[in-house]
């Protein structure tokens, strides 16, 4: 298994896709941090003022806004095997295909943890500089560190969901478009329509909000429940993906 995980890291780091996505995530997180801080305390925006605990929670959880890029890291990691037809040599080298998917899940969990750490550091730095300029840089106290940790965990889980989703759909473009549509269209609609908003707390987005931070949000689970639920979605995608990868013909 160690060999297979190292093989996945070799695959990941011998193309530049990871670098592009990580830089993109850093740029995005800086942008969100600046916007959040710029509009903090603005009565029209509804964002709490710099220095308040609620602002700090939102600022520390800001990194989860790049969850889509972590989802894409996972999706590309899995679907590139089908897109570039390397599934053939990969499964020839490791005929026990379940092991390949498990190795990918573990390899991407670790890689995503490293990427998440970078994003969290960048996020904190951006917030500290901007909020510091506006009066009060958030301290790295237990509360804020906890929120940062939850945000990082959520990013890792999204990468795992991405790997599972990729194994499920196999089509790279389809999986990415599907992921984007789900995150930015379907979930927001379900969240905003009163008739369906009750179900939102059970969905990945609801779980993510529960795990990290929210304001003016709908009814949500407890943070730890949200974390568990999100992890459950990750594992479900991984299990389904593994099951299908083992059964399907590679043609």
């Amino acid at each position: 298994m160690t060999d297979l995980i190292r093989a996945e890291w070799t695959k990941l780091f011998t193309t530049r896709v990871w670098l592009g996505l990580l830089l993109g995530a850093c740029v995005m997180v800086i942008g969100f941090a600046v916007l959040l801080t710029a509009f903090a305390g603005n009565p029209e925006s509804g964002i709490p003022a710099v220095g308040t605990p609620l602002y700090e929670e939102l600022a520390m959880a800001n990194a989860v806004n790049v969850n889509v890029l972590f989802l894409i890291v996972g999706i590309i990691g899995m679907t590139q095997e089908y897109r570039h037809r390397t599934a053939t040599p990969t499964f020839l080298t490791t005929p026990r295909r379940g092991n390949v998917v498990i190795a990918k899940l573990l390899a991407y969990a670790v890689a995503a943890a490293l990427f998440a750490l970078v994003v969290l550091v960048v996020n904190y730095a951006a917030v500290a500089v901007h909020a510091g300029a506006r009066g009060a840089a958030p301290a790295l106290d237990a509360d804020n560190l906890g929120t940062l940790g939850s945000a990082g965990l959520a990013l890792v889980i999204y990468a795992i969901i991405g790997v599972g989703l990729g194994a499920l759909l196999r089509n790279q473009v389809g999986a990415i478009v599907g992921g984007l549509v789900y995150l930015f269209v379907i979930e927001p609609i379900i969240r905003s329509i009163p008739a369906t908003s009750g179900a939102y707390k059970w969905m990945p987005g609801g779980a993510l909000e529960a795990l990290t931070a929210t304001f003016e949000g709908p009814d949500l689970l407890e943070a730890w429940q949200g974390g568990l639920l999100l992890l459950g979605y990750g594992l479900l995608a991984a299990l389904l993906g593994t099951f299908l990868a083992v059964r399907r013909d590679i043609a």
Binding site: D3, L4, R6, A7, T10, K11, T14, T15, R16, V17, Q80, H84, R85, T86, A87, T88, P89, T90, F91, L92, T93, T94, P95, R96, R247, D249, I250, A251
Partner: protein
């Protein structure tokens, strides 16, 4: 019957090769290295790390929807030989190879390497190497592509450089594989297959897209791997002429069924196919008399030549020698290999047109 005659042909081939090995110093070297490398974990590029492996396919069947791609197919690939896996496009060759390698699940039947299915092999990469299609990430260098599979198979990454040199890609190893020419891509695929120094090589249409020089190189390389290193090679093609100079035996399929399993010598002589033998002799009348006495169907073609139907050159030659007749020419007039191959597979066409789509082999 194919089994019996096949074994004979293989033994004949082995004797011939054993003989040449003794007189050729290069091949003696090869044998010495084999003894050394057996002990080390990773062999040099001179002999497979594991012993000879026989490939057996029995009753293999696979349908895609209503299309039956492969139907009760069975054949054997002997160690140390190059076996051509031939058939027209859509005959089910690729599907068969994918089932052999555990990538496609057969509806029925088995495919084994010394009795073990691919997916149960303890070290699949060291037993079997396969080139099914040129598959690599275009942004990854050839060397890194190979390193990925070294890692996955638990092989030292240095193997990547070794196989790159073996296929003549050493200088291009650090370039993006996406920029490789078609011939270089085929070589990279071959390099991937050779990583584990396998006893068996399975190559699906390896000559596709190669220029004449590349095909020449490939032929030599395949022969070297089988005859001098004792590997088992199964190479598919839709053209007999493409592999006719390379293979020792052929397995011909049409519409997913076995059409013929034979050695090239058997195919050439046309012994079972009822070919004709052409003889030229100044004593043609005496020869005809002698042959007819043996019950051979003789047709006189002119003053100095005759043809014998359904016999081999060996039989006719022996008869002429016994009768003390001078011969000026004795040759098998079996209309060329490609024609035999065409006849064999053409017999399946009616069935093929009805039951197999043109894309059936995928």
């Amino acid at each position: 019957m194919p089994g019996v005659t096949g074994t004979g042909a293989v033994n004949g081939g082995r004797h011939a090769r054993a003989g040449s090995r003794i007189v050729t110093p290069v091949r003696l070297d090869g044998r010495d290295t084999r003894h050394q490398t057996r002990r080390s974990a990773i062999a040099t590029p001179h002999a497979p790390a594991t012993g000879p492996v026989r490939v057996e396919v029995r009753g293999l069947t696979k349908s895609f929807g209503s299309v039956r791609a492969v139907s009760d197919l069975g054949f054997t690939v002997e160690p140390g030989t190059v076996t051509g896996f031939l058939g027209p496009n859509g005959a089910g060759k690729t599907t068969t190879l994918r089932m052999l390698l555990g990538l496609v699940r057969p509806d029925a039947g088995t495919a084994t390497f010394d009795g073990t299915p691919y997916t149960s092999l303890r070290e699949p990469v060291r037993t079997v190497g396969a080139v099914l299609e040129t598959a690599f990430h275009p942004a990854r260098s050839g060397r890194n592509h190979l390193r990925v599979y070294c890692r996955a198979a638990g092989l030292p990454v240095e193997r990547a450089d070794a196989v790159l040199a073996q296929v003549g890609l050493a200088d291009a190893g650090r370039r993006r594989a996406g920029g490789y020419s078609l011939g270089m891509r085929q070589r990279l695929g071959l390099a991937t297959a050779l990583l584990g120094d396998p006893s068996v090589l399975v190559l699906d249409e390896p000559a596709n897209g190669l220029d004449p020089e590349g095909i020449q190189w490939l032929r030599g390389f395949i022969r070297h791997l089988a005859h001098e290193q004792g590997r088992t090679v199964l190479v598919s093609s839709h053209l007999l002429s493409e592999v006719e100079q390379t293979v020792d035996r052929v397995v011909i399929v049409g519409a997913g069924r076995l059409v013929r399993e034979a050695s090239m010598a058997q195919l050439r002589s046309g012994a079972e196919g009822g070919g004709t033998v052409l003889v030229r002799s100044p004593q043609v009348a005496r020869l005809a008399e002698s042959l007819r006495a043996d019950g051979m169907p003789v047709t006189l073609d002119g003053d100095d030549s005759l043809t014998v139907a359904g016999r081999t050159t060996a039989e006719v030659g022996a008869r002429a020698f016994a009768a003390g007749v001078e011969l000026h020419e004795l040759r098998s007039r079996t209309s060329g290999l490609e024609e035999i191959y065409f006849q064999l597979t053409a017999g399946q066409e009616q069935y093929a047109a009805g039951a197999t789509s043109p894309e059936g082999s995928r």
